[in-house]
Symmetry: D2
Subunit: 333 residues, 4 copies
């Protein structure tokens, strides 16, 4: 940390700041020039809150010199992380298409969807069993029975599966789920993050609708700091004044996160768009700007979906998207 003092800050004010810094454990080296001094802090600065330091009248500005997410940082770990799940690989030049229905609704529905996804070239099957719903009166999934059906459909088609976990208490039911998703609403549910950090399962961590990229990385840091390095990030649309789509898909996050972190970066165009007609163009755009994977919702029969049917692709739309994603990735090499 570096603290830049105001020009001609009174000596007494400087002393007061120095005393505070040293009391909290920092070693301070005074440098710069007499008119424009800097304090360089070393030693244990964990107790120095930069915004608190900024309250001292002598202070012009406070600079944090290290990224607050050392384990996620690309600067410290330049090699990209590759997350492997069954035959699927994400990151480091590997790209995967994840698809499936928003919610598991019945045996027939999920088995049909799984076969259609497999035929389309999908490498990881999604399906919600415990669904977070904005309204308490909406369908919230089949629960443990939904997971059982999803896993069975994955087995039959040879696809690994991903499903969302909403509470640490449900973790046992996810023993045979291959990838655990943390949804946007739970990106800062630290209890959940710490629990999954102690697990060995890959985690798909979605960005909250009001979360900055740094906050997303700090949530991933919870997972890595607790011991789980198999983390994939997922952009899925942020809240902006623009309400003609459900969220504003922030595709600049893909190259920006690739600069900041070694973790794979995926994109979910379905929840951002909210309407099926926009999903394919946004998925192609995600691939074009370097995403390590795309997660899209598909339903064998969207008009009878119990959840988010408006944004579900038809099976044939998914198959067409899969081919075009491949072509776009070839074109962008």
């Amino acid at each position: 940390m570096v603290i830049l003092l105001k020009q001609h800050a009174p000596q007494a004010e400087q002393e007061r700041l120095l005393a505070w810094l040293r009391e909290l454990g920092a070693e301070v080296r005074v440098t710069g020039t007499p008119e424009r001094p800097f304090f360089c802090l070393t030693g244990d600065i964990s107790r120095i809150d930069p915004s608190l330091a900024a309250r001292f009248p002598a202070v012009e500005d406070v600079l944090r010199l290290t990224e607050p997410y050392p384990l996620c940082s690309r600067r410290l770990h330049p090699e990209p992380t590759v997350v492997s799940v069954g035959g699927a690989r994400f990151g480091g030049g590997n790209f995967g298409l994840i698809a499936g229905p928003c919610a598991v609704e019945s045996e027939e529905q999920i088995f049909t969807a799984a076969r259609q996804a497999k035929a389309a070239g999908v490498c990881l099957l999604r399906g919600g069993a415990f669904k977070p719903r904005t309204s308490p009166y909406d369908f919230s999934g089949l629960g443990a029975e939904g997971l059982r059906l999803l896993i069975a459909a994955g087995h039959e088609t040879g696809l690994p599966v991903v499903s969302e976990l909403m509470s640490a208490a449900q973790l046992d039911a996810f023993a045979d789920v291959d990838v655990i998703q943390i949804g946007a609403r739970n990106m800062q549910n630290y209890d959940l993050l710490r629990t999954l950090g102690r697990s060995e399962k890959p985690v798909l961590l979605k960005r909250g609708v009001g979360a900055t990229l740094q906050e997303l990385l700090l949530s991933a840091e919870y997972l890595l700091a607790a011991g789980n390095p198999r983390v994939m990030l997922c952009e899925r649309g942020i809240r902006t004044f623009d309400t003609f789509t459900r969220g504003t898909l922030d595709l600049a996050a893909v190259p920006a996160l690739h600069e900041m972190t070694h973790l794979p970066v995926l994109v979910d165009p379905s929840h951002a768009a909210g309407r099926a007609a926009l999903v394919t163009p946004l998925a192609l755009a995600a691939a074009a700007c370097g995403a390590d994977g795309v997660m899209a919702e598909m339903h064998p029969d969207p008009l009878h979906a119990r959840c988010d049917g408006a944004q579900a692709l038809l099976p044939e739309e998914l198959a067409a998207l899969s081919q075009r994603l491949h072509a776009v990735r070839e074109a962008c090499r």
Copy 2:
């Protein structure tokens, strides 16, 4: 629900829509005029997803006629809810000032703060024991020991206490806490909401930084639907492009929520402002526009706070605020 058809929508398209609606359980009455028909839906429409209906080519627009939060709705329950905690009362013309440190740090700190809060006229003492922190490396509170100290300080001063719950698994430790806070990050943690819905304790529900007012009310609806009517809402700043403050305090939410719901509406200016100098003017503004209470952070010694010291009022600032809040409320009658 009312579905408005496009002018001259082909008969076959109308039939296809009708068949779908009836298959999903709705009773449909066709009304309007031949050129501009409407479908009025009655019966069980719980399976009709308006955004899915809008995918039919014949559809111009779909109108939900009922608010999706019947238990919170002011239209259906015109009388304001008053939440009483010890001697404190919020709502229906009652106003309360809640204050205390961001985190309980030590016995001396919380007892000192409690006495200062009591002297200032505070009616409910706050103090965090389980702290959600954006970074895994930051101080996250004293846990159960922090709760014990908070409750003891409350007993000594005769103040009821409020503290944040982050996980349903911690609920037992909150047995002697008077009001349970759900923080902004957990506003849509449905597991937590359902658990507190089955409790009898008053709940202070903070608005998420990316949440609309309707989403806030739907989260409150989870609590009411599960049986707990003692819910207070709290505006604490939303995420906008404006980053000179930590959040943008949305004070229009106060009169707007009062139109929409009978629940008390509080304001937390500290987390919105992020800097102590802005807390007092925003707290006064909250009172002026009709808030049922204000929650402000105060610390006996902000420069040595372990958490959010930059936004903590000094004890004497809190005392001055308390008097001015009273005067503003008198002026606005």
Copy 3:
């Protein structure tokens, strides 16, 4: 317009609303059912303000049935508009790359840039002469001399040119400029819009950083309503809480605008990104989701640029982008 009444709205309230509507010129047909009546408005409804109608206590909701931008609407004009400028064509399956420096700085700079742009396959040369700058102390362009140099560089290389107009008073100086740009800050400068609406020059209309898509289309409607049909829209990033980039590029706007309007939709990744490293991936993403053109900033020597050097591509980066844009467009067919 359709006005939906509340269930059991008192007869007197309904009469008061009816009287008001008829007084303002509307013909009202009462339809629906006795319990749930609708008012269908025909005739001259230009004086009925929907938000004012919503103030009447009997009113449940008010529906505008027609898009407020009839000339821009795709529903009314399904064929895509193609804008031709010299050999360049935008829209209806035609794609063009626009590039050049942020500002014209000198004869040598713009001639060099023009040759590099031509070599890279650019079809329209950009260069600012009258620059809107947030600070009054920043370089604001060479003015009329800048235009002269830009036009000369265009002539030499055979490229048509585009430059930004900030005030109707400058229009004469733009006589030999091929396309006139209206910048984001002037998207709602109606004086400027009306002036250009009476011109025959193609207009490149940029979306304001706080503007919705409907507002963008209404600004375009000013141009079309005044007689100029040669309008291209340009997404260039909106203001959101996400400040790691200069603006958040809203690529869903591309397919969404294509649904709403027949006008060509371009994307400017440079101003959204603010940093050169993000420009190429975002430009490719724009092409992948169907943009009719991309406008990118390029400078022969970014480190000595007088304006926005941080986001300028190097000439060789532009050439590489041009080839990859072509490949992505092939892949997306």
Copy 4:
């Protein structure tokens, strides 16, 4: 400006940066320590673009040490500016209520409104003559005739008047208008700003819906730099994801601007709220947090207003507000 280098930045990279800085005119003093050097820049740094400096690989961070708005800065000009118009005074402890209709519609309307405003204790009469309208098909004011009527109504009642100027070409028509308003859409219309900077009339400068506080101050700086010190700022709601109101009123801007600048800060609750029921609570909140004035829309007959009737106060509501504003200001002293 201070440039902080990366730890162990190679000497060659440091030299390259140094050469570039000196070539552009800066005097550079190398300070700090060998492991963590800083470059302190003095002399003419007007050509050094901080974001461009940040592109050099050796650079950790770049700090601007001076606010970019020297004439508006409170640090450099601690005394508050008081703007006087007729008997009205704004700033430095003086508060004024501005009110009147959105648009001047007829002689009867504006004379009635002026008398009602006068009776309510208003000190400055507002009325639009040249109205910026989002749609080209909406009523855009009576133009010069509207100004004539407004001025006449002001004369009769002894009230100075304020009206919006949309184009420098209209300036002559504003000769007898006392205060010129620059609307939110024109906050960055630099042609207009430069023109008014050369005028002697007080200017009421509204914040753009997507503008940061620094951008607002830089627009004010255009006025001051051109010679006009009589500038009042006005917060009127910003664009956020929150669409239940027309804009989100950002009241923290009031105390924050008071820290940053010596100029008076006013609040327009009407355009932020969009609905009359929210105007009074927000106006009181504005006064409570220290605004130097409030501008509210009022109409003798809102249901027949030609513009923004939904947000217009009734005359009796304005009179009540005026009294309560006075009481709140007394309470906040």
